[in-house]
Symmetry: C2
DNA sequence: TAAAGGTATGACACCGATGTCATATGACAC
DNA sequence: GTGTCATATGACATCGGTGTCATACCTTTA
C-alpha cells in the first residue's frame, strides 16, 4: 500500500508537503496541491492511522463492550427488551462525531471482558463504553487513568460514570396514570425480585399509591419471574387466580414487562375475561413488536434504550474532550408512558361481572 | 501511557529485551524475564498496536460493514429475519481467530459505505466483510488490491467472493415435503417479485412440483408484498379469498416469510378456517420468535444466517492467510426445513367442509 | 530601500514497537 | 586450550506519518 513518500516522490514534493495537503494545516501552493492530489488518486493512497497515531497519540477510536449481538433474540433476558437499541443510540451519537466505534461482543462469556479491554487498550481507544443487558450492578477490571469509561444500563461500586433507566419514575408515572383513570386496586406482577429494576419499580409503584392516598396491599404484588420458562407460566396462573379470588380483586394487572403482559392476555382470555373491558393490563419496556401488535394494543412504559445510548456516547465524548461534568453521579434517563387501549377508565359494573366469571 | 522504554528503564534492560519478553521470540534469562514482567505489571504497560503495526504492517483487524444494528427491529424488511444473526456467526468465527472485529454500521445510509471503507483502510484492516439486509445485488467501491472482501447475503457484478442462502433449494425441499404429505394444490403467496429471494424460491417451488409431476398453476401464486403495510394485509385477504373461491382450492398456503404466515393465520381464523386441520400453512425464515410462538407452531425453512456468518468469516480468514480457494464462485448455504404442526397430512374430507365454510 | 510579515516549502527528529546485526558469556567437544 | 555453538543481551535502523525549525521568496509598509 502506498505511503506518503510514494506520493511525495510521484508529485515531486517533500513528504511534509503531502502531509500539509492532507491536513490543510498550512498553506500549499495551488499547483502543488493539484499535483499532490493527482498523485494520491493515482496511487490510491490512504494515510495510515497507525503512523498518525504514533505522533499524535490519538487513535480516534471508542471501544464498546457488549453482549447485545451474540445474545440477541436468544433465550429471553430479564428485561425482555433487546439491548441492541442501546447500541443504536450510541452508534448514532458517535457517528456524528469524528470518532470510530469499535464493537467487541463478549459472546455471552463475561470472563472475556478483561481480554477485550486489553485489546482495546492496545488500540489505544480514547474511551470505553460498557453496555449491560439489563439494569444491574457490575464489577469491571480497573482501567489505566486517562481512559474514561461510561457504563450503560449498569453501575459499579467505585462510582464509574453510568447511564441508567429511571425505573422508579417510569413505574410511578404509569401507576399514577392508572389511578387517574379511576383504578384503586392495582396488581403488580413483578420480574425477579432480585434484580435492580424490580426494586426501583416497586418503589415507584408504592410511591404513586402513597401520593394518591391508597394503601399498599401486599396481596396484590407477586414475583412471577423464574429462570425456568415452564414454571413461570404456572406462577402467573397461580398469581392471577389467587388475586381474582380476593374479596376485593384488582381491576388492573401491571406486569414486569411486555412479554409477561402478553402471557397475561392469554391467561385472562382463557378465563373468559376481556381486556380491557373487564380488566386493564399494563406492561413495561414498550417492546414495540409486542406492545403494538397485541390486541388490544398494550399500555406500557418506554424503556428509553436508544436515548440512553445517545446520552452515554455524549457523556463519553464530553469526558474525552475534557468538557464533562466533574461529578460522576449516574445519569437517569426516563421514558414516557405509552397509553394504549389495554388500560381503560374503571367502571364499577365490570367488577361484579368479573366475580361471576371467576366463580363459574 | 507507559511505553516499552519505560518498562526497559524500570527493569534495567534494553527495550529489545522487553520486546522479547512480550513476544517470546528469543530466549530471555529467568531473572531478567521476572524483572521485566514485574515492571510491566507495575507500570500497567499495554503494548501499542499502532507501533507494532508500523513494523509488521499487520493490523490484526477485520472490518465489517452492516446496517444490522441501526435497522434492527425497525420497520420490517423484506426477509423478516434480523440480519443480526449473520453478525453473530461472524463474531463467533472471528472470535476464535486472533483477529479483532471492527464493526461499522451504515446507519441506514448506504452512501456512507465509501467513507466507512476508507476509515477501515486507514486502520489497514486485513479483510472486509459486507453484510446486506436481504439477499440482493450490490455495487461497492473498488478496493485496493491486497485487501480481500467477502459479501454476505449479497453479490456483485464483478465476482467478489460471496456467501448466499440457497433459497432455491430451501423452497424446493419445503414443497417436496408438503407434496410428500399428500398435498397437490399448493398456493404460494410470495414476497415482492422484484427481490432475488423470490426469484430463486419460485424456481425451487416449480422444481419441486415438476419433480412430483404436478402441473404449475399460476392462479396459485401471488405477490402479496408491498412497501405499504396497510395495503399488504388487503392484498393477502384478496389473494386468499380468490384462491379459496377456485373450483379446486389449495390445501396449503406457503408464505414468503414467517411474518406473512402469521397474518395468514389471522385471516384464516377470521374466516373460520382451522390451521392445520382445514388448511396447512408454511412460512420461510424460521424466525423463531414467530415460528415457535404461533399456535400451531409454524412449519418453515431455516434461513441459515448464523451459518452464513460463520462461513463468511472462515472464507475471509482463508483468503487472508492465502489458503483460500482460487475460484470466486458464491458459497451457497442451505438450511433445513423445520417441520412443525402447521402442515399436516392432507385428508380429503376437509376440503369439502372448507367449501361450505367459505360460502356461508 | 530596508524592515516586517505572509506564503510556500523542505530537512530532520520523533512517536513505540520490532528486525538485523553485533557482542559477550558459558558449556561442550575435540 | 581452542574452536563451536547455544544462550542472553544491546545498539541501531526502520516503519509512515507529523511537529519543529529553517529557508527562500514575494508583498506590503515605514
Amino acid at each position: 500500500m502506498a505511503t506518503i513518500y510514494d506520493v511525495a516522490k510521484a508529485a515531486g514534493v517533500s513528504a511534509k508537503t503531502v502531509s500539509r495537503v492532507l491536513n490543510s494545516d498550512a498553506p500549499v501552493g495551488r499547483e502543488t496541491r493539484r499535483a499532490v492530489e493527482a498523485a494520491m488518486t493515482e496511487l490510491g493512497y490512504v494515510p495510515s492511522n497507525a503512523a498518525r497515531m504514533m505522533r499524535s497519540n490519538k487513535s480516534g477510536l471508542i471501544g464498546l463492550i457488549t453482549g447485545a449481538i451474540s445474545t440477541a433474540q436468544e433465550a429471553s433476558n430479564p428485561t425482555g427488551l433487546p439491548d441492541l437499541f442501546i447500541l443504536q443510540g450510541i452508534q448514532r451519537a458517535i457517528g456524528q462525531s469524528d470518532m470510530t466505534l469499535m464493537i467487541a461482543d463478549t459472546n455471552g462469556q463475561s470472563d472475556r471482558v478483561p481480554a477485550l479491554i486489553r485489546t482495546f487498550l492496545q488500540h489505544r481507544v480514547e474511551g470505553l463504553i460498557y453496555v449491560a443487558e439489563y439494569h444491574k450492578k457490575v464489577v469491571l477490571p480497573k482501567l489505566p487513568t486517562g481512559v474514561p469509561m461510561v457504563l450503560v444500563n449498569c453501575f459499579d461500586a467505585i462510582g464509574t460514570a453510568s447511564i441508567l433507566p429511571d425505573d422508579q419514575r417510569g413505574q410511578r408515572d404509569l401507576i399514577a396514570g392508572i389511578i387517574a383513570a379511576g383504578h384503586r386496586r392495582i396488581a403488580y406482577l413483578t420480574l425477579r425480585s432480585s434484580i435492580e429494576a424490580t426494586r426501583l419499580r416497586t418503589l415507584g409503584f408504592r410511591e404513586a399509591l402513597f401520593e394518591a392516598g391508597i394503601d399498599f396491599d401486599p396481596a396484590l404484588v407477586r414475583d412471577c419471574d423464574l429462570e425456568d420458562h415452564e414454571g413461570e407460566t404456572q406462577l402467573l396462573w397461580d398469581a392471577i387466580d389467587s388475586m381474582l379470588r380476593l374479596p376485593n380483586p384488582p381491576t388492573t394487572f401491571c406486569c414486569g414487562n411486555d412479554a409477561m403482559a402478553m402471557k397475561v392476555y392469554g391467561i385472562l382470555r382463557t378465563r373468559g375475561i376481556k381486556v380491557p373491558e373487564d380488566i386493564s393490563v399494563a406492561g413495561y419496556d414498550n417492546h414495540r413488536i409486542i406492545a403494538a401488535t397485541l390486541y388490544p394494543p398494550l399500555t406500557t412504559v418506554d424503556l428509553p434504550y436508544t436515548a440512553m445510548g445517545v446520552r452515554a456516547a455524549q457523556r463519553l465524548l464530553a469526558m474525552i474532550s475534557g468538557t464533562g461534568r466533574d461529578d460522576n453521579s449516574p445519569t437517569l434517563v426516563s421514558g414516557p408512558v405509552y397509553w394504549r387501549n389495554s388500560v381503560t377508565e374503571m367502571r364499577r359494573p365490570n367488577i361484579l361481572q368479573l366475580k361471576t366469571v371467576r366463580e363459574e
